[in-house]
Symmetry: C2
Subunit: 197 residues, 2 copies
């Protein structure tokens, strides 16, 4: 099997970056040669989460070559995706957005659910595939849920996101509220932009 690259949307947020890393880990555990990549700069909030749980940012790519095997996370619309996506071979989509501007020539695994965060779906996929969630991977998924649901307070937050967040906080060994506020604060911190102003 050739290598598959996994990425989220342009202008990546925490769910997009961590879901690529988390799903690449799950696919690797299942014997797939998978690599997480990113389409843009990692923001401060995401950098805080990666640092906290000991991960490097995924490799940056400008676009995808025709015929490349890809998996999309946290998006499906082509105009939010990698340059050249129309000619890539999309094997899977894991997402929580509406479906639009998306099409494939062949059947694929397309898993979208109306929940607040991609990580909530990924947490199910670990269970469905009988793969244990390591503490640092749980930390990434928790970070994504906190980010997308604004610490479980957004209108898009569902009971499934809350339950997944509680479960993952336990595995990650952090207090969701304490860690979440610190992470959101890191994202709101504009101090590193002050030199430009």
């Amino acid at each position: 099997m050739s290598k598959v690259i996994i990425f989220g949307h342009q202008n990546p947020d925490t769910d997009t970056i961590t879901s690529a890393l988390v799903y690449a880990h799950l696919k690797q555990q299942l014997g797939v040669d998978a690599e997480a990549v990113r389409l843009g700069e990692v923001n401060n909030e995401t950098a805080y989460a990666l640092e906290k749980f000991g991960f490097e940012a995924p490799r940056f790519i400008e676009g995808v070559e025709a015929g490349t095997d890809v998996i999309l996370v946290d998006h499906n619309e082509f105009q939010q995706s990698a340059a050249g996506i129309e000619a890539a071979r999309i094997l899977e989509v894991i997402d929580h957005h509406r479906v639009d501007n998306f099409q494939t020539a062949d059947p694929l695994y397309f898993r979208a659910e109306p929940v607040g965060c991609t990580a909530t779906i990924l947490n199910k996929l670990f269970k469905e595939n009988g793969v244990e969630v390591p503490a640092n991977i749980a930390g990434l998924m928790l970070s994504a849920i906190i980010s997308d649901t604004l610490l479980f307070k957004s209108p898009t937050c569902t009971p499934q996101d809350v339950a997944a967040g509680e479960e993952l906080a336990k595995i990650a060994g952090v207090d969701a509220a304490d860690y979440g506020l610190a992470m959101l604060k890191a994202g709101a911190d504009l101090s590193d932009k002050s030199l430009e102003d």
Copy 2:
């Protein structure tokens, strides 16, 4: 919660008709007011399967009114779907085809997998939701798998379809090969058309 109608594609085949009935049963067990409907005539093969396992054909509909809650099975492309589908509220899709000519305004549950039959995915959904498969429902799912995979011989048949078929035959209490050949033969039987020729 208002009523949701569940249907497969136009020119219905056995997977389309039985998947609507089977998923309506699962949704009802989960407390949803769901009804299976159909967009066209039931063919001879499907009629044989329905008779064998004690089901009536779903109610026929000409199309869907704007704002109707719907679930699509065994298809996603709008041009294969009900008249008026663009203005319906699509809550879910359970399918095994490529994704094309499909879009929604809101997030939804979209579950497509690259397997040989919708019933193979539905069989997973019973497990994921902790709902037991009754013998007659197992018989419908088995019929769909046999029909879509031509008794496990089509190039689209996957190990998942074979495993689901074996499991469902046991629950249904039939021999897959014996029953399958009789069902396929009923579909190929043109005797009821002889008067027209």
